[in-house]
């Protein structure tokens, strides 16, 4: 990535002994700079400034991993918004007489133990997964980065308190916590599941945000702004947040995949969503007793789940590669 570092000004041409008269060399330095439009200094032809974000975007567009995972995710978002566009019929309309039947016209994935169309259920199940994944990630990212960011910025007593609280949350086993907490919930919507994920997920982001704010606030440009008399909110919003947000984005993107699989896990265990809700976890759970007779009923929702989780984790990887300044 040498093109990100090059500046092209040949400063090393000055005789090192000459203390006097070096000023005019400054002019020539500036001149040289001017004479290299584009090139290593590389503002685009339109003269648009290049930020680290636009650099990252350029990297991403060239990354096949990003393109593949982004296409998969776009497709998933599309079918969770408009499932009827590619699947006809209702996922809840089942016909027991067709139970465990294999692939046939109108039901390319066959039928499950209850005689429900596996294709339709798999398509409709994407909505649950994407909703839970996106909303849980948003909640975790917002709560975690606010708490962690403030703890890292102000430090001291509240930082210690928050760090001990995150330790406590890290000690709770996720699945066990889910079994205990969600088994008392009667509501059959995605909200208790999302709430549970935010409750147990924020400490992870909080730690990342805290660490990256502490790193960012020690930079001289933050000290420089402080020396100018900038207020804390200005320091946080203008100087620290833009430089501390990248790790949070990366971790959140990767976590999105794990939240989707956690939702499936909880639904499989019977404490997440329950029938008649449509979820890949519920379908996997329902199909697993018939794995010898009707493996297709298990494999299609499992495959959809695996591809979705993989797509989000690959996206997170690609984003990390593009944003990680150490690789630049």
């Amino acid at each position: 990535m040498s093109d990100h570092q090059g500046t092209g000004a040949p400063e090393g041409v000055i005789a090192p002994t000459g203390m006097g008269g070096a000023m005019d060399l400054a002019a020539s330095e500036a001149e040289t700079l001017e004479k290299t439009p584009g090139g290593p200094l590389g503002t685009g032809p339109a003269g648009k400034p290049r930020s680290l974000w636009s650099d990252a975007w350029r990297d991403l567009r060239r990354n096949p991993v990003f393109i593949i995972s982004a296409l998969v995710i776009l497709f998933l978002v599309f079918i969770s918004l408009w499932p009827s566009a590619i699947a006809s019929g209702s996922p809840l309309k089942c016909n027991l007489s067709k139970a465990q039947e294999g692939s046939q016209p109108g039901a390319p994935f066959g039928y499950d133990g209850q005689g429900c169309n596996v294709y339709t259920r798999t398509v409709y199940g994407a909505r649950t997964s994407v909703t839970v994944g996106v909303l849980a990630t948003l909640g975790v990212a917002i709560l975690g980065s606010i708490l962690g960011g403030f703890a890292g910025f102000f430090g001291g007593f509240w930082d210690s308190i928050l760090s001990r609280i995150t330790d406590v949350f890290f000690a709770i086993p996720v699945v066990l916590g889910g079994l205990v907490l969600l088994s008392v919930v009667t509501s059959n919507t995605v909200w208790p599941v999302i709430g549970f994920m935010v409750l147990l997920g924020w400490p992870q982001i909080s730690r990342i945000a805290r660490g990256s704010v502490i790193t960012a606030k020690q930079n001289d440009y933050v000290q420089a702004a402080r020396a100018l008399g900038a207020s804390n909110s200005r320091l946080l919003l203008r100087h620290i947040a833009p430089n501390a947000v990248a790790p949070v984005i990366v971790v959140a993107t990767i976590a999105l995949g794990t939240y989707i699989s956690l939702e499936a896990t909880l639904s499989y265990l019977g404490v997440g969503l329950k029938p008649p809700s449509v979820s890949w976890g519920i379908d996997i759970s329902a199909a697993s007793p018939y794995i010898r007779n009707a493996p297709h009923a298990l494999l299609w929702p499992s495959g959809a789940l695996a591809v979705t989780v993989l797509a989000f984790i690959m996206l997170g990887d690609a984003v990390r590669d593009a944003l990680d300044p150490k690789l630049r």
């Binding site: 500046t7 000055i14 060399l25 290049r50 001289d220 000290q223 402080r226 020396a227 100018l228 008399g229």
Partner: protein
Amino acid sequence: MSDNLTLPAQQGPADVTPAEPLLEVQGLTMHFPIYGGFPIKRKVGAVQAVDGVDLTVGVGESVGLVGESGCGKSTTGRLITRLLEPSAGKITYAGRDITHASRREMAPVRSEIQMIFQDPYSSLNPRQTVGTIIKSPMEVNGIEPEGGREKRVRELLELVGLNPEHYNRFPHEFSGGQRQRIGVARALALNPKLIVADEPVSALDVSIQAQVVNLLKKVQEELGIAFLFIAHDLAVVRHFSQRVAVMYLGKVVEVGDRDAIYNRPRHPYTHALLSAVPEVEMDDDAEPRERIRLSGDVPSPIHPPSGCRFRTRCWKAQDKCATEEPPLLQISGNRAGHLTACHFPEEPTTEARDEDVILDPALQALEGSADQG
């Protein structure tokens, strides 16, 4: 030559009339507490980074602050710009006590005291354009210059030798020297009266150092800005500063005008520092200069030596040095304004000594056997 004295309080300003002092620092102290213990942490000690520094910077004057790494020069600079809260002492700027001023109380002074940082790679926000960076001092302090802020930024860019068209570029598109120029432009944005330059050139390539130093010199002379120039490079300070203070382990050990420090140094530490400066001139007649090699590192500022802090590495140290701390005084043989904190000062010369002073017994033994063999 200005005669701003840095005298202990009891001595008073003596026989010289100080030119208007812009910044006065008295007994400035910064002790960073060390916490330890379990389960309840308590203060177990303190890093005495700065311990009673007296310093004066006159209007438009350039004062150099030199010393080894870890002697507290940068901490002093950050105390003066109030990035750190001093443990003790007094900082007076233009007659106003700013030692413990709050952010609100500092507001009118902030625009007059600016800072240039050592590392041009970390002192510029990588997410902001050059224009935004240089504009931010005006935004923070709510200053609207004539013709608008953008015009002022372009003027500043031109002043520091950059192309005004670089307004919309990002710091990572510039080299170290150019970035430092951006830092200088930011410091100049509010027409400050005092700039604390914390090793502004030590992170730069030697060929670039000259350019930046000359830029700062031009700025200082043309705009009449007072500088506190912190550096460990004696040659750079000599080029830049009218007055020089030498720091060792949190204390000023010698202060005087440029000529006094470089040609008539009295403190053994100053001698040692000057003898370490490599000489370029190869004059056949001139005798080679004395060499003084200091052994080991600076003692820990957590447990500084008693009495004179330099005594553990000093070749003239005697019992008195361990018990009695030498005050910073105009000792006999010094010219006005030249203060030295030493019980047994050296002769005011940098001429050659009969033999090298080697302060490391192991090194001495090694060289002795090499001579014989």
